[in-house]
Symmetry: D2
């Protein structure tokens, strides 16, 4: 990647955590410059950001629609836009940029309805653009190693999946004395802002994506129990999954499990071995081959090969964290754009970033889960 | 306990692992002497055992029925019998000893059918005897501490349960090249010998019992998927559980999950905190109270109190293992017998051993699970 | 071992922790019967024990000297004596039984002075007896596996050793507010009762023994700093070690390190790999071969072979603890006695228990450490 | 920090790992722009870097001396220079920039001789500049929390220190068959390039700094054994330490300990509790208070306060790694510069970055260690 790309950002104003993560991740790649933006709906904050990020005044936009149109017309237009606005706005913003012929990388969830999701996917293909959805965890090198080991047949055929994503930051919502509802948690449990699901939509969908990424297994149907403990939306969910090939799995996600902060943990069991990866300790991969001692692989070592080695930033033993995982997603996304600009064909490996179709699958998964739970955990197919 | 009890054993011949565990566990208590036995259906082996265990010749029986009858008539009869025979024989043997007026401690599962189980329970009450079922894991001090913390309200109301029991010793059954079917595994997957379920019956039932012991929550209904991978009986199961109070949980058990040897792990999530206990590292308990650092409790320390402290054998930091857990079950069981012999009333704490009714619940749980799975994971009530 | 041995015990009265550990360990082996004893210097307690342990009245002795003499003369004399009295009395008691022609297994430390130690060693050989010293940790299967891996060259030549044994139970001795000095801790810091060293004598010596057992490396000289924090004897020690072959190591032991209960941890570094074993989690062995993932070996699995497999009691994944380690020492010790009684020669493997000479080395190690510390950490050779 | 700073870099050409770490760390702070540089002694590479980093041509310098002089004269001169060249060149480069009146942040080690080190320190004060030395590990939030807990008296008085820094990447240097000496390792064991020590100089000094940062304890003297296994310089070292207040500690560092990648682990033992931090899992802090369960603190949680909370970048449970630790050092360093530019006084907290005097202490520590080892581990005072 010798090119230097230009990018724009929608959302990510002062104090917005996720916008900062995206900017830092892109900065780690030293490959793209923030060139345009619509950072906040409040004029002053928007200008403040433009200033702080050294953006030329005429490319700080008060309205994302104007930004999409104007940028789409420029010769030196942004090469992609990064959408980090509230979830309820993803659909319309992404659509505007696609229509303007600009590649998009959007935070997850892609959007709220299956129809919208499929429309964005179709539009991406029609416009011949790249559309990434930030399923962060597939960016971790050890997740890429897990995928490789499965693909290489190291654990045989997958026979069972056990994955979970447990947090505890909404535990006060279910009572217990010292209520301390935060602004953040309130919108999380408001259907207007979160769509039809809170917990499955926010983190359950990460389980689905990470498992699919590693194993290539896509859920055919789910049998889900969502618990809302008297709130409008779910705070906890346990579900049985059947994949397209008939294999079964079990997923649990929660925002009310004390003692778990960001506990995504994925275990893939095969006929010859198993793999376990834990997000809070992401530089390790636990691999067990039948009849052998448990093995702990460490990121960055000589025996780690493939994409996990290519996307290694700092030497083994020096921990990388979440922002590097996001950087890896941008690395592939931006590299794919560069290749296209250079007239090169992108290989499957080049396109190693979560796509709009992964986003569609996520939305379908959320809808099936909610429907199943409403229907007393009846098996419900993903549409 | 100043009394020295006499006990008999049915099963536990040369090479029988579980019989040895029971004898060692009883020996650790230094409170009962093996006095009678019917160790093997093979005459020679039976006599050999009698000799090895220093048992008087006339109390080495070739037939358990004769043993029950004869011992029942003696003045110096055994105070209890320990039944460690193949699972398919538990019912008839236990029944014979109950009829003879002898207390019973039987390995799990109690028996194969719900009718048999309820019959044994009724008979126990009718005869006013003690009947223990060896759900081993409730004997661990840190499981007792978990129970106490829940009872004391330290984690608030239970809102979610996530428990699993994963092993990998039957992984060769599902193919993968180097088949090495053992004698042991063959009977495990034979309905004649294992009853209607292999995996749920063998280890899933331990999950049910351990969770019930700690939380007091009893499953009302289950939605289960059992995987048999072409074998007669299940080798893997994932299931949703609804307890009598409407709270939900998720259980997974397997004998084909590489990298797990005897992986019983129980996590109880409450409105104010959570508890995690892992059988392979049984001397610790992970406790998290809302808004506080994770705490690791160690067995035998000054801050561990209650039954967990009373049933502590060696100082903290010096690991105790499985056999001490079994010894603790015998401790309570034998103490209850002593109290009765001494004319003392047994308190609830005195009766802190898994009873025949726990055994009945286990059988009901297995039957509901199998029925649910046969019925496409439909919610199925425990009878 | 078809024979049933008879054994005697000196010490181990009511409430004595270590005596109970020895009795339980022997009981786990189902191979020896407690036949004689001198359990307490208090007549009543002594008789009470004799009664509790079902010992014939004429073999409950009020005086260990009488016991040694009388037992030595009997035709059905005890095959060995287990000495679990206060440390200050080990020398004279062991000597009495050796003189009476009775095999001895004594708790560590063997005794207090180098002269006494060497005298006991010489006497053992002169009398052609077996003398075990209970360096418990060499009895753990995974320590035996560590020894085997080193012997098999799996980690190449040993190039560095890092071992520690940290406890915190004497932390109140050094002040900090809520003093709660126990009876136990008082004698631990009294030279009359503990000899010239408390911490190094009590636990440092376990480090020395465990490392020597695994690696075959014997300290030639030490450079030690002992900290007593104003007490009479040491509570903490850090030391550099040079082995006979010139390789170096570092040992730390302490009874005042908060957060460590019985933290013996041994790391052996070789030119091709390394091994780590941690007493509080004794069923695992961490093995790293150069350029490969870290491997965690689990006790009882198929890939564990040799003595570690032979001395396996219960299946993998079901934790064994400290008492089984002691049982393994007795297993070898008693087996050696049986072989001798049967006229069989004992191989090196048969003699796989810590001997009186290991006890001598321990005493020399303690003396060198204390002398070095008194001499401002000057390198001090073991005599 | 509203200001945007300009910075220069010496070293950090294509493929230089450490230069990239510094650039990425500064980028994470979004507060300074790379404005000038002398990246490589090779003209072409130097220009290539200037181009890649968007630097104006006249500020890409072929010679660091010219760079120091020219930048020193500019009105829009760089606010600080980041020195990431080979260790042997640190002294002269840093000196040149100090003389030009430019603040310096230099990789460790500061330089090779005590004289040079003290000269740089004096020059810094004389010129009234800021000089940071990149002892990375003090930048981790949980190290800052450790410091705070010690300062707040949570573990009482420090009574013992046990710290280590183990790696294995030079294990091939000591033979073992498959030699694969890398270019990197060769210079590491060449005194011309590494100074008088390899292992202690490279990583031992990090132990010294991290312990001093957390506890405020400075080594008065050391008794060290350095092992070079036939190489010119040390690859392994074990040492006893006495601090200025008479308390003792033990340090181990190695580049040949298989199974350890970047294993800095620090344990601080106090009269009331203890603290443990492990660099490879940097988001946790293990804290044990006397008589209480072990506590695991997690970065980013509500109960973490002080500097550890202020320097938190992403939410708890989402791992931060090494580059964020370096970013934190730059954060404080750059903030101090901004304050000065703004005419504000810097408080002690504002100056929370490793200074030139910490660099001096590191050089003294290395010299004392080498001298002690040459003198048969004699106690050797730091000059």
């Amino acid at each position: 990647m010798d090119r230097k790309l230009r990018y724009g950002m929608v959302g990510g104003g002062p104090g917005a955590f996720i916008g900062a993560v995206h900017r830092k991740a892109i900065a780690l790649e030293e490959n793209a410059v923030l060139t345009a933006g619509c950072f906040s709906s409040k004029l002053e904050k928007n200008l403040e950001c433009g200033n702080a990020y050294n953006i030329e005044k005429d490319r700080v936009y008060a309205d994302y629609k104007v930004m999409a149109e104007e940028e789409g017309k420029r010769k030196d237009k942004i090469d992609f836009v990064c959408v980090v606005t509230p979830n309820s706005t993803h659909y319309e913003i992404c659509k505007a940029f696609l229509l303007a012929g600009i590649n998009v990388l959007c935070e997850k969830p892609l959007c709220f309805t299956i129809e919208q999701a499929k429309e964005l996917s179709a539009l991406t293909k029609e416009k011949n653009l790249y559309f990434g959805v930030c399923y962060t965890y597939s960016g971790y090198p050890m997740v890429k190693l897990a995928k490789k080991l499965v693909e290489d047949g190291e654990i045989g055929n997958v026979i069972n999946v056990n994955a979970e994503y447990l947090q505890d930051w909404l535990i006060d919502e279910i009572g217990g004395g010292d209520q301390s509802t935060t602004k953040l948690s309130v919108w999380r449990t408001d259907p207007e802002k979160s769509g039809i699901s809170n917990c499955v939509g926010d983190i359950g969908t990460h389980i689905e994506n990470t498992v699919a990424y590693i194993t290539g297994l896509h859920p055919k149907k789910v049998s889900a129990v969502l618990d809302s403990y008297g709130m409008e939306l779910d705070l906890n969910a346990n579900m049985l999954v059947e994949y397209e090939n008939g294999v079964h799995g079990v997923y649990s996600c929660s925002q009310v499990c004390a003692g778990h902060l960001n506990g995504l943990a994925v275990r893939i069991f095969g006929s010859k071995g198993a793999i376990e990866w834990v997000q809070e300790d992401p530089n390790y991969l636990r691999v067990t081959k039948k009849g052998q001692p448990v093995q702990i692989y460490h990121r960055g070592t000589g025996y780690v090969t493939g994409r996990a080695a290519e996307l290694n930033h700092i030497p083994s033993g020096h921990p990388e964290g979440l922002v590097f995982a996001v950087a890896n997603i941008y690395h592939s996304f931006m590299n794919a754009i560069c290749n296209k600009l250079d007239g090169k064909e992108n290989t499957k490996d080049d396109l190693d970033f979560p796509s709009v179709d992964d986003g569609v699958e996520g939305v379908c998964f959320v809808h099936a889960s909610v429907k199943s739970s409403q229907n007393h955990a009846a098996w419900t197919e993903l549409l």
